[in-house]
Amino acid sequence: MNRKTILRISYKVLAVALILYAVVFGLVSRLPDLPPLQQSSRNVFFHVPMWFAMLTMMGISLYYSIRLLRLLDPDLEHSENPLYADANARESAGVGVIFNALGLVTGIIWSRVSWAEDRPASEFSTWWAWDPIQVGALVALLIYLAYFLLRNSFTEPESRAKVAAVYNIFAFATLIPLFFIIPRMFEGLHPTAGKGSFIFDKSQISNEFRMILYPGMLGFILLGVWIYELRSRLERVRLRLEEKLAEKDYRETA
C-alpha cells in the first residue's frame, strides 16, 4: 500500500469516527441550559457543520476553476486534460449545493422550534424568519443552481468549461459578503449577527459545545470530501470512456 492509499483510507475512517462521535455525544452529553433553545441547542452539532462542509466544497470548486483557466492558457505546456479540472469543479460545487440545501432545511426546523415556537404552523414567517444568513444562504443556493443552468446551456465542452469557471470564481466571491459581511450589519437569529441575536449569544457557546462541534465539523467536511472524491472519480471514468469512444469512431471513419 502506498502513501496515497493510506491517506485515502485514513481520512475516511476519521470521517466516520468523528461523525459517530458527534452524533452519539451530541445526543447524550449533558449541556448547559440555553432557555429558549432547550434540547434543540444540540442542533448546533449538525446544522453548523453543513455550512463549513459547503464552504469547503465551494473552495475546492474554486480551486479547480482557477486551475482549469490556467490549463487553458496556450502558453502553458502540460499533458493534463483541462476537462478533468472542469469535472472536479462541477462535482465539488454539486456536493456543496447538497450541503447548502441541507443547511437551509435544518435551519428552518431549528428556527421553527426556537424563534417561532409560539407561532401557528400556518404562518409563513414560522418557517422563514428572513434572517440575514438564511437569506444569504438561499441567494448562494440560487447562484450555484444558476451555475449548473449556465453549464447546461453550452454544448461545446471547452467553452462550457471556460465560461463556467469564470462564473464559478464570481459565485465564490459572493459567498464572502453573503455569509461574513452582510449578516454582521444586522440583527438576526444567528449568534454571529453583528447587532445581536434574538435567540442566543456567541458567549453562550461554551467549551462543552465546542468539544463536540469542532470534531463534528471536521467529520462532515471529510464526509463531503469523500462524496466529492467518489463523484469526481466517476466523472473521470466517464470522460475517459467518451475519449475512447471518440477515438474508436475516428478510427472507423478514417
Binding site: N43, T106, V113
Partner: protein, 59 residues
C-alpha cells in the same frame, strides 16, 4: 390554509407540534434524519450514475 396544508404534509406537522415535544429534542432527531436522508439520497443518485456508466461500458 394552503401553507398549513403544505407544512403539515412536508413535516407531519399538526397544530400541537411534535417538534416541540420533550424539550424540543424531536427537532434534533428531525435534523439528523434530514441530513443523513439527504446524503443517502445523494449517494443513491451517484450509484444510479455508476450503473448508467456500466451499461454504457457494456454497450
Amino acid at each position: 390554509m394552503n401553507t398549513h396544508f403544505l407544512s403539515s404534509f412536508l413535516l407531519l406537522q399538526t397544530e400541537k407540534t411534535w417538534l416541540l415535544m420533550s424539550d424540543k429534542v424531536y427537532s434534533v432527531l428531525a435534523v439528523l434524519l434530514l441530513i443523513f436522508g439527504g446524503l443517502i439520497l445523494y449517494i443513491f443518485l451517484t450509484n444510479r450514475k455508476i450503473r448508467d456508466l456500466e451499461k454504457k461500458l457494456k454497450d
